[in-house]
């Protein structure tokens, strides 16, 4: 089961199409730069790249190792990317949801972007060596419940149809498992996970929605969240992080992928997404909406929990 291969044969053609489109829009002056993926030293690996010359378009690739959500390079990590002109960006369906959210939060303007969508069958899980073949066992957990293999509303999408086998859903199963626990068991589970946290803030830095210039958790007057990586401070940080992403996170799972301590951060995000869907019938990332579920209200909202 776990070694069932997943067909990534379209990625070669997708790579070629991305290169062609990038070359065209750069040479025709449509965009000032294209943010995409390029091969790196390690076998099979890929890393984010900013291409500004048409001649460099050949560097762009797409493979199962192209795990990053590049949306982060359009907001807070944007400082070094050419400011003038449109930016082209290579996006998977999951990444696109973040862009949609960022547009709703006044961080991006659609007209300033050129979206190169990627038909995607899935990418590798975080702990897997980059040269590993994509299988049911090596695929990233988020890809198991992907509903956006083909991004919509992009300026360009290579005409390829990814083959996407039905996979067991990871997060839904994990949420159900945790929900079935007693509060004490859940506490013990999360305590064990959060204890590992070293406050490297990789989760925050890669998150497209953690675009604040000064994170609340970095402030010391008052210190809302302890900065020390002790169990208490870690717990507080992760609760605050999950709460700040509630109703915004569309599940790119970058936080979880980059966590060097393997903390299942996206599980918290998915749980919140599930609750907000149940409470307010809201799902992030499908359309540009001015107000998220926690920025608006309905007079008839559920208040069964309020006496």
């Amino acid at each position: 089961m776990h070694d069932n291969p997943i067909d990534t044969s379209i990625y070669a053609a997708v790579t070629e199409a991305i290169q062609g489109e990038a070359r065209r829009i750069l040479s025709e002056g449509h965009v000032a730069a294209v943010v995409g993926y390029a091969a790196a030293r390690r076998k099979g690996s890929a890393q984010p790249v900013v291409v500004t010359r048409a001649d460099d378009a050949g560097k762009l690739i797409f493979s199962a190792a192209c795990v990053n959500n590049l949306a982060v390079y359009l907001t807070k990590a944007r400082k070094e990317i050419p400011k003038s002109g449109k930016i082209g960006i290579v996006v998977k369906g999951c990444d696109l949801k973040a862009l949609v959210g960022l547009m709703g939060e006044s961080q991006l303007k659609r007209e300033e972007l050129y979206l190169i969508g990627v038909p995607c069958a899935g990418v590798l899980a975080s702990t897997i060596q980059p040269d590993t073949a994509l299988t049911a066992g090596t695929i990233a957990p988020k890809c198991r419940e992907c509903d956006a293999h083909l991004p919509t509303g992009c300026d360009f999408v290579p005409a390829r149809q990814p083959v996407t086998p039905e996979l067991e859903k990871h997060y839904s199963a994990e949420i159900a498992r945790l929900e079935a626990m007693t509060p004490a068991e859940r506490w013990a589970y999360w305590k064990g996970q959060f204890k590992k946290c070293i406050k490297c803030y990789a989760c925050r830095q890669v998150c497209p929605f953690c675009f604040c210039e000064q994170c609340l958790c970095d402030r010391n007057k008052p210190q809302m969240v302890e900065t020390t990586p002790r169990p208490a401070g870690n717990f507080a940080w992760h609760i605050v992080r999950a709460m700040h992403l509630a109703g915004r996170c569309a599940g790119c799972a970058e936080c979880e992928r980059v966590c060097p301590m393997d903390i299942p951060l996206n599980l918290l995000n998915r749980k919140m997404a599930k609750e907000l869907k149940e409470l307010y019938d809201y799902e992030a990332g499908f359309e540009v909406r001015e107000k998220g579920p926690l920025a608006t209200y309905d007079e008839k909202d559920d208040q069964s929990f309020i006496k």
């Binding site: 790196a40 030293r41 390690r42 076998k43 690996s45 890929a46 890393q47 984010p48 790249v49 900013v50 990053n68 982060v72 390079y73 807070k76 990590a77 400082k79 070094e80 990317i81 060596q129 064990g192 996970q193 204890k195 590992k196 070293i198 406050k199 490297c200 803030y201 990789a202 925050r204 830095q205 890669v206 970095d218 010391n220 210190q223 302890e226 900065t227 020390t228 990586p229 002790r230 401070g233 970058e254 992928r257 980059v258 060097p260 301590m261 393997d262």
Partner: protein, 334 residues
């Protein structure tokens, strides 16, 4: 002293140490992640994976109290942490890249100011190193002049043997003392050959050339292209066996609290952010430049050593795939 210890006896040794009240720190699974930590018994030890965090935390904790304060009425009482209270420790299963970084850190912690928090732990800890038989393409100890069998930093070094067990060699008095106190668990070498050692694939850096380039290229457009992708987290520095920057924070309330020392990372925006609001390292490439400079130039300038032992953690766990081995290799070719 060259000896042999079987896997069984190694575990017996650990159990005996634990029973004697010694703190035995070794890689074990912690909520699904291989991490160093105190063992409760030898069964928990995990020796087939490189722990996610390096061994430095046994001497330079992720977070430690250095002082506490308490206000009673108008009186404030301060209590220093006494390093004498640190526990005697045996650190087991330390890979050469982790072990080699520890003596490198001695330099900075005993330079002008003697950091008793670090040094007392150093004194009280016996390091049992372990040679590597596996490497992936992020490993590059050989590129910085170390090797999968280098005992640098180890008091006692274990090399896995064909047919099981370890060749055991002592390098310091501490190592010898550990062996002598438990001599019956060790045997004379039985002539088995060592397992084939790992062979990291990276070519050796010319560290002199690297430093020479760095000496002259504080300002260089290359930094922009190297670090354009850096998102400014601290994963590389925190996983690194040699990075040792820390931040001191006071935490608590008006009534009572602690002064604490935490790991810090030069990749953070806040690292050089002045109270005035000015930040001399205002952009990410300047911060990443500091990481490379510190490892391959500043530390060399000051202590004649390189602040990198090639463990490859920063490569494996960089969220955006920054590859220090590739970068330094590139520099060495300039």
């Amino acid at each position: 002293m060259q000896l042999y210890i079987s896997e069984k006896n190694l575990k017996a040794l650990l159990d005996r140490l634990i029973a004697d009240g010694m703190r035995v720190v070794a890689p074990r699974m912690d909520a699904g992640t291989p991490l160093y930590g105190p063992l409760t018994d030898s069964a928990g030890i995990v020796l087939d994976q490189l722990p996610r965090r390096s061994a430095k935390e046994a001497f330079f904790p992720l977070c430690e109290d250095i002082m506490s304060y308490e206000k009673q009425g108008r009186k404030v009482s301060l209590t220093d942490i006494d390093p004498a209270g640190f526990p005697e420790t045996v650190l087991v299963g330390v890979r050469p890249c982790d072990a080699a970084a520890i003596p490198v850190l001695d330099a900075v912690f005993s330079w002008d100011y003697k950091d008793e928090f670090f040094l007392e732990r150093r004194r009280k800890t016996t390091i049992v190193g372990l040679a590597c038989t596996k490497a992936d393409d992020a490993c590059f100890c050989t590129a910085v002049g170390l090797s999968p069998a280098n005992p640098k930093g180890s008091d006692l070094f274990l090399t896995p043997l064909e047919g099981g067990g370890y060749a055991c060699e002592t390098f310091t008095e501490k190592g010898e003392a550990l062996v002598n106190a438990n001599r019956e668990l060790f045997a004379e070498p039985n002539g088995s050959t060592a397992l084939p050692l790992a062979e990291p694939q990276t070519e050796r850096f010319d560290l002199k050339k690297v430093k020479a380039w760095l000496d002259g290229h504080f300002e260089d457009p290359a930094w922009d292209s190297i670090a354009v992708r850096c998102v400014g987290c601290g994963a590389c520095a925190f996983l690194c066996p040699a990075c040792h920057c820390f931040d001191i924070v006071d935490e608590g309330t008006e009534k009572a609290g602690k002064r604490r020392k935490n790991w810090d990372a030069c990749g953070f925006w806040k690292f050089t952010h002045h109270a005035s609001g000015h930040n001399p390292r205002d952009l990410q490439p300047k911060r990443y430049r500091n990481r490379i400079m510190h490892k391959f130039k500043y530390y060399d300038d000051k202590f004649g050593q390189t602040l990198c032992s090639g463990c490859g953690r920063c490569i494996r766990f960089c969220p955006v795939g920054i590859d220090i081995a590739a970068i330094v290799s590139e520099i060495s070719k300039k």
